[in-house]
Structure formats: structure tokens, C-alpha cells
């Protein structure tokens, strides 16, 4: 966070840095500051993706290499990236350093955000939405301090803003909006940290917590602390990015209290969920005709795997997938009910929907360990 604040302030205060060369310098320094000993690994992973795209762009210039092949090659690269990402998680490659002259260096670094960012790049390039980025703008994009550990700014969104950086950074309206966001982020982060501290104090107070205390943590303290910490962090990033003349898309829009799971996910970690929606839900998965239930389960399985390759996150994804499928089934079959029944259910859901959705979302965080214990 300190690195991001410094990077924002530096470019905001020194107009000389508001050029691609200046931003590149600050981006590299920020990435070094954030990744430290894993910086080499981060560079190697991103460089591999860039070399692949450059090669594909070179092939695309040849007339025989049609768009369909570019898309297929990109899909293969996305699959390879997914396997590398999962293998990295499974074997915990990010934690395996190599001692070089007294320094412990890490030659592999692909966290969840870097993975998703590269997926968006391969998708956009494969679909023809973007052309091969210049090395300089690619490096600024992957080193952008405000997105290094989330949120997602797709390359197409970044590319559009790149020529405007030097002019937009001086607009007073943007700073006013930034200040408001910064204050909101500050309050959210502070409350989130307080709640996290309270949660840890409760957990550490004894091994055998009473069941009611576990329930209080699982259904109130833990979800809110998690949400406020991330929403606060992303609000900070959204408030700092305008110093570079960049606008980040919003990430959280009051997700708790939504009437159903669809609305919850439409407002939770939006930059990431929109990637899963666009790439995995709007898909046929090899079927002749898309099956929305298969798509839903695929999306949430991927969401689970994106968080971690273990039973907890797979179950988390499956629980959300099953819940979402149930809602999907209801939405698709709602019109078959008589008008009277539709109105009855709607009136019930108006009040019970937000509570049921909240409880279900919390259960998906809270119950997987218990279910796994039961299975074992």
C-alpha cells in the first residue's frame, strides 16, 4: 500500500514523470517494491506471455494464418497458463526460492491477479480486440502499482487511457473524486482491520470456542472484515490511479444485502467476476448448445480454483455454483407459475431474499471446513 501511495504521489507531484518513460520507470520500481525477491519470477512469467503474443502477432501478419488460428493458439496458451498457475499453487512454487550469493530469489511468481490479468491479455489478443502491445506499454500495464494485487484493468481499457495520461492527471474534478474515494477507503480499511483484530482475538482466546461464538464470527465478523479490507484496499487503488490519469473500474458496490446470488456476484469484486462471466459463463464448453447450468458450475469451479487448489476453495466454488443454479432454475421457470404465485413469491423474496442471500454467502465461507471434516 505504501508503494502505491508513493507511486501515486510521485507522478502526481512531478509532471515530468507523466510520460510513458516516466510511468515505466515508476512501474518497474513499484513492481520491485511489491514483489521484491520474487520480481525476477514476475518478470519471467510476464515476459513469456509477451514473447508468445509477439510470435503470434508475427504469424498473424502472414496471410495464411487466419483469425481462427490466432484464437485457437491463444486458447491453447490460456490453458497452458491455467495449468502452470495450478501447478504453481499445488507445488507452492512461489515459496521455493533459490539462494544466489546470499539472496533468496524466486524464479516463479504468478499470483491470482497476475494470472487473471494475463488471461485477459491472451483472450483480448486472441479475439482480435487488441493488437500486440508495445513492450513499453505492456510493461507499464503489468507493473501498474494500483493493479498489481488487484483490481483487474484489462489491456483494452488501459490502452484507451494511455494517450490521455498527461492531460487527465491535472483535472481538479478527478482529484475531488479521488479524495472522496480515499476517505471511504480509509474508513473501510480501518473498520476492516478493527474487525480482523477482534476476530483474531476471539479465535486466539481459546481452542474450544463455543458454537455460538463460531457462528457470530462466521456470519458477522469474518465476512464483514474480509469485505471491508478488500473494498477499502480497492477504493484506495481507485483513488490513487487518477494521479496517473488512469480510471480504474469499480470493484465493490455494496454486495451484502442483495436480493439473490446473481445480484451479489454482480456487485462483488466486479473487475474479476466480470472476467469470469465474460470468458467462462458466455461459453459453450464444447457443447452444440450452451447449457447455462454447466456454464454456471464451470464459472464457480474456476472461481474456487482461482482462490486456491484445495478442498476448501473447490467446495466454496461448488456451493456457490449449486446456489446459483437453484436461482437460475427458479428464474427460468418463474413464468410457468400462476401470476398469483409469482406475486406471492416476489413479495416474500423482497424481504427474505437479502437475508437468505447473506446467510448463504456466509455459509459458503464458513461451512466448507465442516463439510470436509464430515467427508473425511
Amino acid at each position: 500500500m505504501i508503494v502505491c501511495i508513493l507511486a501515486g504521489a510521485l507522478v502526481g507531484l512531478l509532471p515530468v514523470l507523466r510520460s510513458t518513460a516516466g510511468l515505466l520507470l515508476v512501474s518497474i520500481l513499484s513492481a520491485v517494491g511489491i514483489y521484491r525477491f520474487a520480481f525476477i519470477g514476475y518478470v519471467l512469467v510476464n515476459l513469456s506471455a509477451y514473447i508468445f503474443i509477439t510470435g503470434l502477432a508475427w504469424l498473424s501478419m502472414r496471410s495464411a494464418f487466419v483469425q481462427r488460428n490466432r484464437w485457437r493458439a491463444s486458447c491453447a496458451a490460456m490453458l497452458a497458463l491455467l495449468l502452470v498457475f495450478l501447478a504453481g499453487r499445488y507445488y507452492q512454487l512461489e515459496t521455493r526460492g533459490v539462494a544466489v550469493k546470499g539472496l533468496n530469489l524466486f524464479f516463479f511468481s504468478l499470483n491470482m491477479w497476475a494470472f487473471l490479468r494475463l488471461i485477459t491479455l491472451l483472450w483480448e489478443f486472441g479475439s482480435g480486440r487488441i493488437e500486440r502491445p508495445s513492450l513499453r506499454s505492456f510493461m507499464i500495464w503489468v507493473g501498474l502499482p494500483f493493479t498489481l494485487i488487484g483490481p483487474i484493468l484489462r489491456y483494452s481499457q488501459f490502452e484507451k487511457q494511455l494517450p490521455l495520461i498527461s492531460t487527465q492527471a491535472d483535472e481538479p474534478a478527478r482529484y475531488r473524486q479521488s479524495l472522496r474515494r480515499f476517505l471511504v477507503g480509509f474508513v473501510q480499511l480501518s473498520v476492516g482491520m478493527l474487525l480482523t483484530g477482534f476476530q483474531f482475538a476471539l479465535v486466539e482466546s481459546g481452542n474450544g470456542l463455543p458454537r455460538w461464538e463460531k457462528l457470530v464470527i462466521g456470519f458477522s465478523v469474518a465476512p464483514w472484515s474480509f469485505y471491508l479490507l478488500w473494498a477499502g484496499y480497492f477504493n484506495f487503488m481507485e483513488s490513487l490511479a487518477p494521479f496517473w490519469g488512469i480510471t480504474l473500474p469499480p470493484s465493490f458496490n455494496r454486495p451484502f444485502g442483495r436480493r439473490n446470488l446473481s445480484e451479489f456476484w454482480a456487485n462483488w469484486n466486479m473487475t474479476a467476476t466480470s472476467v469470469f462471466r465474460d470468458y467462462f459463463f458466455y461459453n459453450r464448453w464444447g457443447l452444440q448448445k450452451a447449457n447455462l447450468y454447466v456454464n454456471t458450475l464451470m464459472v464457480f469451479l474456476m472461481v474456487g480454483l482461482w482462490h486456491g487448489l484445495n478442498g476448501y476453495w473447490i467446495l466454496f466454488g461448488l456451493m456457490h455454483g449449486i446456489g446459483f443454479c437453484a436461482y437460475l432454475w427458479y428464474s427460468r421457470n418463474r413464468s410457468r407459475l400462476t401470476l398469483w404465485r409469482q406475486n406471492l413469491i416476489d413479495s416474500q423474496f423482497r424481504y427474505t431474499g437479502p437475508i437468505a442471500t447473506y446467510l448463504y454467502v456466509c455459509s459458503c465461507w464458513f461451512l466448507p471446513p465442516t463439510i470436509l471434516k464430515l467427508i473425511r
Binding site: 465474460d278 458466455y282 450452451a290 447455462l292
Partner: protein, 81 residues
């Protein structure tokens, strides 16, 4: 009627049927601007358009078909391939 106008009319009729609105209202609609055209409804809508024209949109294009004009353009493009 030109081929393009025919495509536009058929797209608007399909959208009107799926969304339950009059064909005249369709041109002002878009994803997120109608309760039935949300992320779930979008996929259903795209499947209906594909069925109507007997075509398949490329996977990477589906997320971008967020309004009638984009759908008409995509149908024309896929038809001409």
C-alpha cells in the same frame, strides 16, 4: 427491403419476443437496461438469436453483443464468413 434491414428486423423481433416488449422499444434497449437482459438473460438471448439465424457466434464475441446494433453487426459478419 435490403438484406441488412431484414436482419435488423428479425433481430428486433427476436429480442422483443424474448424480452417481452414491443419491437419498437427494442432499439433503445441494451444489456442491463431491461430486467430480463441481465448476465443470465444475455446467454438465453444469444442462443435465441443463433437459433433464429441458424448460426454460431464466436465465443469471444458473445460478451460484446450488448445491444441490438452490436447483434445486427455480428449477425451480418458471421453470415458473410
Amino acid at each position: 427491403m435490403t438484406e441488412n434491414n431484414q436482419i435488423k428486423q428479425r433481430v428486433e423481433e427476436t429480442l422483443a419476443r424474448v424480452l417481452g416488449v414491443s419491437p419498437n422499444e427494442v432499439s433503445a434497449l441494451g444489456m442491463g437496461l431491461h430486467p430480463r437482459w441481465d448476465s443470465m438473460g444475455h446467454m438465453e438471448l444469444i442462443m435465441q438469436i443463433e437459433k433464429e439465424f441458424g448460426l454460431r457466434f464466436p465465443t469471444y464475441e458473445i460478451a460484446e453483443l450488448v445491444n441490438p446494433a452490436a447483434i445486427v453487426k455480428a449477425v451480418e459478419r458471421v453470415n458473410h464468413k
